[in-house]
Symmetry: none
Subunit: 249 residues, 2 copies
């Protein structure tokens, strides 16, 4: 069907039934790439039962140990949310998000992150996301079932891909190759290591929050591969670059 690489990532799903129902909803909309981060129970008979013909998607699902691992090779990542976020982050309605994903997936694999049933995604789990995605709901009862939420996302993705025979990538999204998540993590760790050499990330009990705020900032910029290289070069330059390296040796 579609050759566009869109990855669905379920983080710590509790109910195997939801995994199966997710696989079915994905296949209904021609999505194939399912990644499970530390599922509570998988494989499981209930997952297979609810997949109901999407056993192939289930069989090909990858089980991984971390969100970072799940997102390897990805460019644009959207994290689902229904909760208030105190970070200053871009929140896209699911329809707008689907259009964006279709556009982004033309250059690098894109992914959508879904959190655990009861708790959603933690702030740590969304650190690699480029945008939040929300399904609009009745504010008095906004907790969507996990697989139904996947179904709505997949449906909007399908509409965005197949409805307009000539879907054109808006100029504003026509970008150079996005940085993949490994590149970004490499940069994060580089600048944080340098900042650890200074007193900038002190006191220690504030470090995690400071790191998260900074990562959010970079994240929001939607960096390209080339820009991440530039940033790394900039950090090397600011910290003395080759000169220091020699001195350290």
């Amino acid at each position: 069907m579609s050759a566009l690489p869109i990855r669905i990532v379920l983080v710590e799903p509790s109910h195997p039934g939801n995994i199966g129902a997710t696989a079915r909803a994905m296949k209904n909309m021609a999505l194939r790439e399912l990644v499970l981060v530390q599922p509570k129970q998988f494989p499981h008979a209930e997952a297979t039962a609810r997949a109901s013909g999407a056993d192939d998607v289930l069989a090909e699902a990858r089980v991984v140990g971390s969100v970072a691992e799940a997102l390897e090779g990805c460019g644009f990542v959207a994290a689902t949310t229904s909760r208030e976020r105190d970070q200053n982050f871009r929140v896209l309605d699911v329809r707008a998000a689907a259009e964006r994903i279709v556009a982004e997936a033309r250059t690098s694999p894109a992914a959508v992150l879904f959190g655990a049933e009861r708790t959603g995604l933690t702030n740590e789990e969304v650190i690699l996301a480029d945008a939040f995605l929300t399904v609009p709901t009745n504010p008095d009862f906004s907790s969507l079932n996990l697989a139904q939420s996947v179904a709505v996302v997949a449906y909007e993705w399908w509409k965005g891909t197949h409805d307009k025979p000539e879907f054109k990538v808006p100029a504003k999204f026509r970008r150079a190759k996005a940085a993949n998540k490994e590149d970004l993590i490499g940069f994060f760790e580089h600048i944080e290591a340098e900042l650890d050499r200074t007193e900038f990330l002190f006191p220690a009990d504030k470090r995690a929050a400071m790191v998260q705020n900074m990562r959010n900032m970079w994240q929001r910029a939607g960096l390209t591969y080339q820009e991440v290289q530039t940033l790394r070069g900039m950090v090397r330059a600011l910290t003395g670059g080759k000169k220091r390296k020699k001195k350290d040796e």
Copy 2:
């Protein structure tokens, strides 16, 4: 929430879990009126479990003996279908159907009919329908789960009712005080001056383009006032901060 009367009718649903999941999907989108035509098992613990907080919708569900009875008092009725129909009938995409339903429900209660899980609606059951409604899917795997199909219909109904053409950022996501342009320029000039001390912005004929690319990056992040302060602190830290200042004096 909504005063518009939209009735969801499940015809001979086999799995009580789907009834519960339907109630939940309905309540997520502020739909309340559920009618069950000869459900195989209802009430049922599995229905209650999957309703997960939409017990009120479940408790108010009416159980009736026929489609005609389920549709009493209704005006416009849409029947879901995924199959080709040999009748010469109007088939509306779910989005168009939702718009129509919103419009029709202003004058009389409207209803959407969903068939049994394995078989869908029979020709007899759709005899009272004014239009067919279809959720577009992958033609190679078009069988949607019953409750997921309700979820997509309810979602489109909600969008049609509550969405203004201009999606507004919910108040809860409105961001902290944005950096004003003077703050940004102050930061730009700070980091560029530091980079000029290194060989990073060389050769000189490339400087203008490099500066522009970097400014674009920061620009795209949509920085807040606080974040600009953080970035300036970071640059000071990376370049040796107070220590160097003293040395320079």
